[in-house]
Amino acid sequence: MSDVEDNLQPIAILIDELKNEDIQLRLNSVRRLGTIARALGAERTRKELIPFLAESVEDDEDEVLLALAEELGAFVEHVGGPEFASLLLQSLESLATVEETTVREKAVESICKIGEVIPQDQFQQSFVILLKRLASGDWFTSRSSSCGLFPTAYPRASEEVKRDLRSLFLQLCKDDIPMVRRAASAQLGKFAKHLQPMHVKSDLCPIFVQLANDDQDSVRLLAVDNCVAIATILSNDESATIVLPTVRTCASDKSWRVRYMVADHFCELASALGKDVTKNELVHAFVRLLKDPEAEVRTAAACKVTLFCGLLPPSQVDLVLRYILPCVKDLANDSSQHVRAALATVIMGLAPILGKEKTIEHLVELFLHLLKDEHAEVRLNIISKLDAVNKVIGIELLSQSLLPAIMELAEDKQWRVRLAIIEYIPLLASQLGVEFFDEKLGNLCLAFLGDSVHSVRSAATTNLRKLTEVFGVEWAQSHIIPKILSLYLHPNYLYRMTTLNAVTVLAPVVGNELLNNVLLPLVLRLGLDTVPNIRFNVAKTLQALLSVPLDPVSVQTRVKPALMKLCDDSDRDVVFYSRLAFQ
């Protein structure tokens, strides 16, 4: 009995807080509505809680209403199961008419969730009637919300009701208020999936064309999405007659925003419309978009170059060469840096499509050009994708043509560019082999340890471990350790810290001998450093070393005494970390 008592007091508090002035408390209570409902039981939930919540819908804050809309969507079990599910719809209907868009959308989502479990005999009365009420509401908010309910209502409706729903939807598509037309247009694709193809052709296709020619730009924008949706449903031939003309109009629309949408959705359009259309028409449309006067459109198109070329069958590579490649060359010299940056992100992906010869012939010079671009972002985007090219033309050629440029970038003024180079080095190392690496890149890696930016130094130390994994401990001993040894005497404490970082990072991979003979003494000597930051980092490093694991003898003879000394240090942080390490 006392268990039940204990559990009820917090619930009583939660209930009271539903109407508390503090919004955080109200929000918290709303999110725990499930708990409250369980405590009250299904019947009381139906008779008291739901009506109570229905009143709260009127004037609460948006955040609370949003949480309420979400909770109600999952309330079916709390009201006693699907047969009572329709009780929830009244509150949700009010929520679907508020002015805040996010709340309306969540309410519509919840209504659909509930709609799926309402028993068939209640469906007409509760769900369909609700939809019709919203769709004929005075304010555009309720009409917009009603559009989201059609895809759920249609599959479960009778033939007559289906006819009603279709005509109601068409009416909403012709509504006076642009926002309602937008909502309807946005749902067109989803709705179409549930209709039989003949209805799609007779009812939805004409309205789809009408919406694509709407006066308001904001409505026409959505036509592109619908093109994809409808083309997917219809057969290729039908798409060619019905959807393709609209695609053509959109691709040459006066508003750059509509053209942008076409560029953005181009690959989906190509897949939906089929290979023939793609080959004959879309390639040319794409070229036009790549040359569009508005930079935003060119950027969107540039982002899709690789994906689109990937859609073309391998036999059509010459199409790519003849039409798309010249545009790509122009884009590499585009006046807008956003276009060039977008191109840089995807251009490397063209290498596998074109094959080795053509890549060498056409693309490598473009890569080089973009690598030397004045804008950091463009350079950065190229570097991040070098391995795609690597696979195609091989490391020899890559190193010959691109390596000089990469070396230059390693000294770039922008630290993010330097960082990107470091992250690429292990890959280069594994491919180039030890000798080549030592000759060209070795010094570079070690120089990074002394970079002025912390992130770069940090990445450089991680890099060291990866290199040791690739080349082996002996190599590390001859190449890396000397540098570390020199760094630890550096007058600037930040570089001495780098030494400690390096030790921490390398410890797991260098093997005990090196650890005990070379690295540990280093660390211990730094324990006497004048700068407290170094000393407490020593404590941290020692702690890390202990878990390597270090051999017990060393631990006893050297580590422990050192730590004990540090525990008596004058600086508080040093004492703290030493104590921590001691445990």
Binding site: E5, A12, D16, K19, L49, D59, P178, M179, Q216, W256
Partner: protein, 437 residues
Amino acid sequence: MFSSDHLEWKFSQVFGEGRNSVDDGTDDVVSAVEFDSTGDYIAAGDRGGRIIIFEREQKTKESSKKGKSAEYKFFTEFQSHEPEFDYLKSLEIEEKINKIKWCKRQNQSHFLLSTNDKTIKLWKVYEKKIKAVSAFGDKKVPKKPSDLKLPSLDTRETLIGATPRRVFANAHAYHINSISLNSDGETYISSDDLRINLWNLGISDQSFNIVDIKPANMEELTEVITTAEFHPIHCNLFIYSSSKGTIKLSDMRSAALCDSHAKEFQEPEDPSSKSFFSEIISSISDVKFSRDGRYIVSRDYMTLKVWDINMESKPIKTIHIHDHLRPKLCDLYENDCIFDKFECTVSGDSNLIMTGSYHNNFHIYDRESKNECQLEASKMASKTKKAVPMKPGRKKSKDELNPDTIDFSKKVLHTSWHPYENIIAVAASNNLFVFNT
């Protein structure tokens, strides 16, 4: 016969204190007036950052539409903007309301945009039911589930409340001079001296810059933007006027940054009338589209110009408002009145235009015929006024003849016209006058 020939304007109501002088506390001075899209509400903003809304009285069944004065009554009032201080530039930001624009009704509440020099706010004005919790759950520890009780509420009263739904801040480096809602119902533009930004009503932390006339070198600055307005029907067109007397029409479809205009409306200056003040008085203080979107009306210091949207070379009509002030331009420059920004308004049927002048006078002109009507915004002048034909050089009424007797501190800068009836709201210092036919 043009119906405007028979129009008789008469004074209907005045709101605000009876004082007309400006020295007594400038906070009450009305700085913006706007009818909503139904004409049932008028919003007035003042220099103290307050907005006062008036609601039209319901017509009783017995009164006929013609001949009954349109009566408005006080609806609600709220503080829209507070004075602020810009710490970075050590400047005060005035709370004066520069513009108010009503949004389309989307539910039982009213929405309007109001702006001061730096921040735009979307206000929701609605009927609030004040509910009080009459009983919380029992204080004693609940022993079984049936002890749990839900709070019960009663409705105490209904008030008109106003809350800011969105605050669009920090997007303008210079003073905002106008805002305009798009016909798509979702977006609007705000313009300051050098830039115009495009906003979405639902998103307050992002805006797109669509016009930027700031020169690379600020020393080369020669003109500023004075107003901007969206076309009432086409969602992609908007106009903006400049201090050099040009109106530019831009199409948002053509490019993301609309620095280049599609059309430019500018009348070449008549070299014979050039004077020291020509440039100042050619600065356009307001532009408006007619409701059907076919005409643009612009107001500069001395004239009203009506432009046909299809003809850029010259206006189809130029109306001289107060030519008798021309000899006094020097004095007006001395007392800064030459920089006064008069608004212009177009009637719902696009046939009548109104603009203000000094001595609390304002003028209503017929776009087609040559009639004009001059009225005074004052409680004394409660007789009706008929529209009379204008003739160049015609003697105006007695007290206008002598510029020396004009009170330049009394000016009608802000006016608004009912969307489809002939009811006008005129702001004169801290009073709001309603006239109708």
